[in-house]
């Protein structure tokens, strides 16, 4: 089939595959691999930075080695740390918003470290410009450098580098004089720092400070602006990390502009705002079934559902109670001789079976019913008299006492209970004799 050029405007897709060899000739695959640190990586990095801070007073990568930087390196390094700080601050916000406060705090700490490093880079010395030996020799001949070719000064940058490098001079006063001379020759006296304007001042103070920075004013302003932005970003990340769950929930209910000012507010103001909002948004209903509180701002449908659930539960409970009472009422009908109404008997039965806990009044009534029943039964247990009229209470008294006395001794001797001792004594010949004596006396009493 001859190849044709096709223009497809109706097609059906079955799948989209990932492939290694795209057909598009000029397709340049642009891959940006953006990866957040894992919790472990964040923790390890924070730990390392903590150790560095504790070990050498905050010395970090930016200040490792005393080799001065080139101007370009300084800018690149500052940019590196500034970006790192921004990324960590962004991570901190991300983790905070996701409720991972530990990771957010760790990222915030990393952001702070990077931010400090970025600031430190700005204060680092800048490397002197590279001169070949020929250039140095030529400069020495013209007086642009010291006689040995050191401290060549051909422009403003060289002048600042020379001022910073004064600490390395073998003869500081001679070098300072050279620097002043070159500044004058180049019309750069205004750029001399205070330490170089007076011939008898020590020069090592010139190795630090903003006046030693060879950046242009515009560059410095730009870097400072970036620092301010970073500080703001960091502060925001810290506030997000510090926010409580209640504050985060409240923030979600706000408009974008309101949310930003809420996040930027002080902690006390945020707490007050949340409290005020909660007070204004009072509880309108508490679900009896779930205990959940519904506020004015709650979804009306959700409140209605909660109420419906409670009403349904109440109806069910009421129906079950009525059904149960009917069953107990039937059983109460089987107790016609008990005083009290059917309802009172139902309460009594349910109390006895543990189906309800009576209140004080019901408990009193239960006691009254039982007491009345007891009184009604009392005549049935009264002693009507004895057969033959004989008093048997004292018959065999000696034998009984004697058995008791023997049992007491036996119990003491054999360390057994009095009941065990009595049964054993009654099995002995003496015991048998005493028992016969008791029986005889009782029979005699009945016969008399």
């Amino acid at each position: 089939m001859a190849k044709t050029r096709k223009r497809t405007d109706v097609l059906k897709l079955a799948s989209i595959s990932v492939v290694d060899s795209p057909a598009q000739d000029n397709a340049v695959a642009t891959m940006i691999v953006k990866r957040r640190l894992t919790a472990d990586e964040v923790a390890k990095a924070a730990e390392k930075l903590d150790a560095e801070d504790a070990g050498d007073g905050g010395r970090d990568e930016a200040s490792e080695g005393e080799a001065p930087l080139t101007e370009a390196d300084q800018k690149a390094l500052h940019s590196h740390y500034a970006q790192m700080a921004a990324q960590h601050a962004q991570d901190a916000s991300y983790h905070a918003a996701s409720g991972r406060l530990d990771q957010s705090a760790a990222s915030t700490k990393l952001a702070q470290q990077a931010h400090r490093s970025a600031k430190r880079v700005l204060a680092m010395p800048i490397a002197k410009r590279d001169f070949t030996q020929d250039q140095r020799d030529a400069a020495a001949k013209t007086g642009a450098a010291m006689p040995d070719g050191s401290f060549p000064i051909a422009n403003s940058g060289d002048l600042h580098n020379a001022m910073r490098a004064i600490g390395r001079a073998n003869d500081p006063e001679a070098v300072k004089a050279h620097i002043r001379s070159r500044a004058k020759a180049l019309g750069l006296e205004s750029e001399l720092s205070d330490a170089f304007k007076k011939s008898n001042d020590a020069g090592d103070g010139a190795t630090h400070g903003d006046d030693a920075m060879p950046l242009t004013e515009a560059q410095v302003i730009e870097l400072q602006k970036k620092n301010v932005e970073l500080e703001k970003s960091l502060a925001r990340a810290q506030r997000l990390a510090e926010m409580t769950d209640a504050e985060k929930d409240y923030a979600k209910t706000l408009l974008e502009s309101e949310r930003e000012s809420f996040v930027n507010a002080e902690s006390t103001a945020r707490v007050a705002a949340v409290r005020k909002a909660r007070e204004a948004d009072s509880v309108v209903y508490t679900c009896k079934a779930t205990g959940k509180e519904f506020r004015k701002s709650s979804d009306p449908d959700a409140v209605a559902m909660a109420k419906a659930l409670d009403e349904s539960n109440e109806r069910t409970a009421k129906a079950e109670l009525e059904s149960e009472n009917v069953a107990f009422a039937k059983r109460a009908a089987d107790l016609p001789n008990l005083p009290g109404t059917v309802d009172e008997k139902v309460v009594l039965l349910k109390t006895v079976e543990g189906r309800m806990k009576p209140d004080a009044k019901q408990a009193d009534r239960n006691a009254q019913i039982l007491k009345a029943a007891s009184q009604a039964l009392a005549p049935a247990f009264q002693r009507a008299g004895t057969t033959g009229g004989a008093d048997l209470s004292k018959a065999g008294g000696f034998a009984v006492d004697k058995v008791a006395e023997l049992a007491k001794d036996y119990a003491k001797t054999h360390s057994v209970t009095i009941e065990v001792a009595k049964s054993r004594v009654l099995k002995t010949p003496e015991g048998q004799r005493l028992y016969k004596e008791y029986e005889d006396e009782k029979r005699a009493a009945l016969a008399s």
Partner: protein
């Protein structure tokens, strides 16, 4: 209707490892030329250069979005098994048809129009292959239903196109 590898495109814009999603153009319809004009993009299909029009892309994307949104791997697997999810390499989780007019209405300037997708491989090793650069792009599998054809020697900007209905023409 036979399914075949229709076209292969590649522009991976981003790999988000945390989400496990690779984002890029699944279909490219137009590309901006040197003069800054968006022109139909013809890929190098083995049957000849092919362009999927924005209209075709939008319609296919709408259908595909309502299907299983199957992500394949190197077109290695049996299409039927993939379609039935007997083999699950991943899912096309995001789809946005970005036509010239949509971009304009959204106030966006685009270098190419087409179908922007986000695929989520089910196997982390596939994601790692993107990160390592082993995998570079996307390729669609499906069936042409209707379109235009012209001889290779014809001018693509001319009206010398012949309408083709692939089903009616017996392509099925």
């Amino acid at each position: 209707m036979p399914e075949s590898v229709l076209s292969t495109f590649s522009t991976i814009c981003k790999v988000d490892r945390e989400l496990g999603i690779v984002i890029g153009y699944g279909i490219v319809c137009k590309e901006r030329d040197a003069s800054g004009v968006l022109r139909p993009y013809f890929d190098h299909d083995r049957d000849g250069p092919e362009n999927i029009t924005e209209r075709g892309m939008v319609g296919a994307a709408a259908d595909f979005a309502q299907s299983e949104r199957v992500m394949g791997f190197m077109h290695e697997d049996e299409p039927a098994a993939v379609a039935k999810r007997e083999i699950n390499r991943g899912t096309v989780v995001w789809m946005m048809p970005m036509t010239e007019s949509i971009a304009k209405s959204l106030g966006m300037t685009i270098q190419r129009s087409g179908l922007i997708i986000g695929v989520k491989p089910s196997d982390p090793s596939i994601l790692a292959k993107f990160e390592s650069g082993e995998l570079k792009g996307f390729s669609i599998r499906g069936a042409r239903v209707e379109g235009d054809e012209q001889p290779l020697e014809a001018d693509p900007n001319s009206d010398d196109w012949q309408r083709v209905r692939y089903v009616a023409a017996g392509a099925a």
